[in-house]
């Protein structure tokens, strides 16, 4: 029940991971001459399999967002190889959808038009996607809000629209960079619940970046724990909790044991200090 329980229905071969990082290091040039280069990621090796949800949890500055940018094809590794579907990533992979921390909706477009932006930008026929866009908006509970502009929607609703936009072209891989971090705690729980239900209706590989340990355990089939400076994966924890997970799973001893393990890792690496 831990890995690849729902393989993605695609032409891709089974067994091989969808995303593979092999010794990936990312360095950024120093801002000032003479200063040392900044290593955001050091020798990260990780596999992401078809149909699994992997949470990556770590403190700010641990390179988790850098890792996502690399997988999204927005930046290139300094050394090491990164491949999706067996091909080295040299540009954004076609079947990827990305959700950022900011909803990044265009203020002059309605909710529906913002979702359809994905098709327009990719040069796909917009008309063929209208039906799917409406379905997605209904699925996230935004039926009746299709014609609303972003400024008429709440923060949670806007982020729901941006999730629909990321899924419009039915990507095999969904990348989420702290998507709920800008929301209040209650909206955040609701979105996590809805999102879980949502992924089950359309199974796909999800890489979910967060700095929230509860959220990481709640959503993930696996949790990768990252530590900072330089960023690397300290441990990977398999989360063996039945789905669909309900909010009260957070009170269960298993859940608490998992979050405890994440916390222990942070303490052992000096990221959390209990005086």
């Amino acid at each position: 029940m831990t890995e690849a329980t729902q393989p993605h229905q695609g032409k891709t071969s089974q067994g091989l991971p969808l995303v593979r990082l092999d010794g990936v290091t990312k360095e950024f040039l120093a801002r000032r001459a003479g200063a040392p280069a900044f290593t955001a990621l050091r020798a990260v090796t990780a596999d992401f399999h078809h149909g699994e949800i992997v949470s990556i949890v770590g403190p700010s500055g641990c390179g988790k967002s850098t890792m996502l940018s690399l997988i999204a094809g927005l930046e290139m590794p300094t050394t090491g190889t990164l491949s999706i579907d067996g091909h080295a990533v040299v540009e954004p992979y076609e079947r990827t959808g990305v959700v950022f921390q900011k909803d990044l909706l265009l203020s002059w477009r309605t909710a529906l038009d913002n979702v359809l932006l994905q098709a327009e930008v990719r040069g796909l026929d917009r008309r063929k996607f209208v039906e799917r866009a409406n379905e997605l908006l209904t699925l996230v509970g935004l039926k009746g809000f299709e014609r609303f502009y972003p400024h008429e929607l709440s923060g949670g609703m806007r982020q729901r629209v941006s999730i629909c936009r990321a899924l419009l072209h039915n990507p095999a891989l969904l990348l989420m960079d702290e998507p709920f971090a800008a929301l209040d705690a209650i909206t955040r729980d609701q979105l996590a619940l809805d999102f879980q239900r949502f992924v089950q209706t359309e199974p796909r590989t999800v890489i979910f970046i967060t700095h929230n340990m509860d959220e990481a355990v709640f959503l993930g089939d696996r949790v990768m724990v990252m530590t900072a400076r330089p960023g690397y994966i300290a441990d990977v924890i398999e989360i063996d909790l039945p789905r669909p997970r309900h909010l009260n799973v957070r009170n269960s001893p298993e859940f608490i044991r998992y979050t405890g393990r994440v916390r222990d890792l942070f303490m052992r690496h000096g990221i959390l200090q209990d005086h």
Partner: protein
């Protein structure tokens, strides 16, 4: 299907109350204008100001009605110069702004030339332009164009540069090429700035056309203003001034009307300065 009741529902559009406030908002400037005119009218009579120095509003209005045919005929060349100069400035300014924003090399080479060209006092080179282009329409259109061109170019450049880098990242993640990024992101983002530049450009085109008529013309409202001044015709001067002002205001709002066509009305409030203090 589930509801989003846990989240704040958006404000529904109220009707009655909003209509009333809109009416008040529209009437406020008109009322202010009426009060200023009333005080002006009274003060001219009370202090017995000679009409060469400052005619009463009623005198100006009478002068306009009396010579309406002349003013109508003289408005045409002035309007043509303004519109032609503005159209050239708008087309070339926006295009140059776009071209410059696309290329780093163009930005580095064109921008300093553009800025230093602005340091040349354009009003002062008007006589030179008359020597080059003659006293016909061309010289006047060119002066209006020269004055209006720079703010349009600059605001286009500023608007195109004002794009959120995170938005650019999103577009890259969606595999957008430079063309689609421009059409779907940069240009719409820049529109409020471009229109701000066009409004400034329009009011400057009016200035340019009048200055051009001051230098060399035998018709037009600017020419008539100078002529009436030479004739010590106070009401005539102020009539021409009033008509030029009305012309300028109408042209300014014409740009704003076009702006509303391009920018959804729901979003105009973001750039409307009159609502900033509310």
């Amino acid at each position: 299907m589930k509801s989003v009741a846990a989240e704040a529902l958006p404000v529904t559009r109220q009707s009655g109350k909003r209509h009333l406030t809109r009416a008040i908002r529209a009437l406020a400037p008109l009322t202010t204008l009426a009060i200023i005119l009333a005080i002006w009218q009274w003060a001219v009579r009370f202090f017995e100001v000679p009409s060469l120095v400052l005619p009463a509003p009623s005198e100006i209005v009478l002068n306009i009605i009396e010579k309406r045919h002349l003013y109508l005929v003289f408005s045409v060349p002035t309007l043509v110069q303004i519109l032609a100069g503005f159209a050239m400035a708008a087309a070339l300014g926006v295009l140059l702004g776009i071209a410059v924003s696309f290329s780093g090399l163009a930005r580095r080479t064109v921008y300093p030339i553009l800025v230093s060209s602005q340091m040349v006092p354009k009003v002062a080179i008007a006589p030179v332009l008359v020597i080059w282009f003659g006293t016909g329409l061309e010289a006047k259109v060119f002066i209006a164009f020269l004055i209006a061109f720079f703010p349009i170019t600059l605001s286009t450049m500023v608007g195109l540069a004002a794009v959120d880098p995170d938005m650019v990242r999103l577009f890259r993640a969606m595999r957008a090429g430079p063309y689609r990024t421009f059409v779907k992101l940069r240009l719409p983002t820049a529109l409020p700035n471009i229109f701000a530049g066009l409004k400034i450009g329009m009011s400057l085109a009016v200035v340019g056309a009048i200055v051009a008529e001051f230098v060399a013309a035998d018709r037009g409202l600017g020419y008539y203003l100078l002529y009436a001044n030479g004739q010590l015709d106070g009401p005539g001067v102020f009539a021409a001034l009033t008509l030029l002002t009305i012309l300028g205001v109408l042209l300014y709002y014409a740009v704003e009307v076009v702006e509303r066509l391009f920018i959804p009305s729901a979003l105009v409030q973001d750039t409307d300065p009159t609502k900033a203090s509310m």
